[in-house]
Symmetry: C2
């Protein structure tokens, strides 16, 4: 038996044990994970610094370095997310109680975070073992891509794969996998600034959606603006974007209004930059904005800025994305922000979960039927 | 563009129109489907008789012929199921209303029911068109297996595949498909007769579970019986099974008690017969029964017959199947019987739906977020 198959079998066995575990024990283990991470803060920061050094020497973009970087505040946030998951009431199903997700997990991180992941995983395993639960419930995948490829062929042990990363990684996993995959290929998120937009809401939301953390999938990549609002609002929005370090590309109409905008190519409209880049398009009306988003978007998160409730309602109904937003930042599309406790993944699929996934989205139902001899007639 | 791709594109366009349709219009169309089938009863029975003639000449088993056969009562039941779906309230989601499933569908039937399916599909399309909905919402797949193979490569138009049929068909679809598949490979359902079983419940449930409609996936294929109950109960259960036309196979212990039982092979324990065949095994205790079911079963539906509530509770918790039952027939595992209105499929997967699927299981959620300029900090 290969190492990968052995890991998968041990994960399945651990999952069977977790199924019988008390909710209180699982909550205690989850809280202990956060506590252990906080108590090993310095070890984690040291490992993370080493990962960052190597990433810099490999010339990763600043946005990607930011995504890799941990500091005390982010560790605190992680611990708080874990506490929030531990404090969630058991989700109640329609026919029977559903228990808090009790699955085992095999984790595979990017090589650029290898040291950081090793220490964090040891915190998590220690917390699980401390509460008397099987430590095989949390394993780092040993071995490289070959091990992952092999795990993808073992549906008898593995129920679900959640690839997180770039589009090429996700496509490659989805094509090889015989295990169901929850995925979003990319986050090509739009903000549409309507004719009736409030100027302050428009510029603060656009800048936050683009620049607050540009390497995340819910960062905005495209700005659409109504032609009647463009002359007044686009220059002030563009000025703040440029000040935040954003490089702009756009169509001819937008370039006539703002000289910093370089010409966009057709491929820009479907691209996910994951960086401080944004493409701008002036649209004739709401219909053109909706058509553009449904055609080029990734069904992840799209927002409208408008004071007109009727216009907003049409946008929210007709844009076919997993999250649609009115007058707020696409960066809010997140399991933690939505009150799911913590986010395990975001799905743009139409099966199982759509949008951010929390613990409840990792449960499944079981029909329990009791009778006194009932037959089918 | 191939015919298959054209069908898929038209289905996607019809689905987009259905998304905007009123619930009342959809309900009216669903009711009209049943009415049209009843009004064309004679045409349907005539087409079905021709399909049955051909199937007989191709020597299909009696159980499979039974599955193909339509009569006035079954058409009435189909119409009633449609009425039940039409009468369902719109399922209410957690954040927003969910609408009754408004997807378009591409249907591909077995060649043995070609004539029957053609007439029924024309009833359904007529009902949809009568209510002003796009008739492309219901299409029979034109072309043979090649057309199906091509549809499976079009995730841009098709969200979900539900193959229904034998294990080899389902495996072949799952292996080729780039579209998510909801499936159960087989229904190897068990009835476990416990030491504390009520004799009348035991024998009526076992006979109903096996013989009421043996070609269905929720028919019982295996009988497990506690060694302390076997001597008294197995002969009377076996007598009734034999009287119902069931051929029995079993382990040595069962063969010592009932002479009609032929020797079972190891492969029998995982086989789905879909016919009047049942394999019998005497087990030492509840633990052996649970282990046997979790090892050889198909996670579809498994039942325990016992008067001991503690024993039942352990069985219902520890048997890891999508439906678990206490003192009733496995044949009750069905979307209609569970109050889902009608059954679109049964899933033994752990993603999306588990067990019978109704209209609600064909909906997905959309997160709608409204704000007054909220940002991510």
């Amino acid at each position: 038996m290969s190492l990968a198959e052995d890991q998968a079998k041990r994960a399945r066995a651990a999952g069977n044990q977790l199924r019988k575990a008390q909710a209180a024990t699982k909550s205690a283990a989850i809280r202990a994970m956060g506590a252990r991470m906080k108590s090993r803060l310095e070890d984690i920061l040291e490992a993370n610094a080493a990962d960052l050094d190597q990433a810099r020497s490999e010339r990763l973009s600043e946005a990607k370095l930011d995504r890799l970087r941990l500091d005390e505040k982010r560790i605190d946030e992680l611990a708080k997310s874990l506490d929030a998951v531990a404090a969630q009431p058991d989700p109640v199903g329609k026919v029977v109680d559903e228990r808090k997700a009790g699955n085992a997990v095999l984790l595979k991180g990017g090589h650029e975070a290898a040291r950081t992941n090793q220490i964090i995983a040891s915190c998590l395993q220690g917390a699980v073992a401390q509460e008397g639960l099987p430590s095989d419930a949390i394993q780092l995948v040993e071995g490289g891509h070959e091990a992952v490829d092999q795990l993808l062929t073992l549906p008898q042990y593995i129920d679900l794969v959640i690839p997180r990363g770039g589009e090429s990684l996700i496509r490659s996993v989805a094509e090889k996998s015989r295990v169901p995959v929850i995925k979003h290929y990319k986050g090509n998120c739009h903000v549409y600034v309507d004719e009736a937009a409030d100027p302050i809401v428009a510029r603060t939301v656009v800048v936050n959606a683009k620049a607050q953390r540009p390497a995340t999938c819910n960062a905005a990549e495209k700005l659409l603006i109504h032609e009647k609002a463009a002359e007044k609002l686009l220059p002030q929005i563009a000025e703040r974007l440029v000040k935040a370090g954003v490089k702009l590309r756009g169509d001819d109409a937008s370039r006539r209004l703002v000289k910093e905008i370089k010409a966009a190519a057709e491929s820009d409209w479907s691209e996910e930059y994951l960086d401080l880049i944004m493409a701008v398009k002036v649209v004739k009306d709401l219909d053109e904005a909706i058509r553009h988003i449904n055609q080029y978007g990734s069904a992840h998160t799209d927002a409208i800025i408008t004071t007109n409730a009727e216009t907003a309602k049409r946008f929210l109904n007709e844009v076919d994305s997993s999250s649609v937003m009115w007058n707020c930042s696409t960066r809010l599309a997140d399991g933690g922000q939505y009150g799911l406790g913590a986010e395990i993944g975001i799905s743009t699929e139409r099966l199982h979960a759509r949008g951010p996934m929390g613990a409840e989205e990792l449960t499944c139902v079981k029909w329990v039927i009791t009778g006194e001899g009932q037959l089918r007639t």
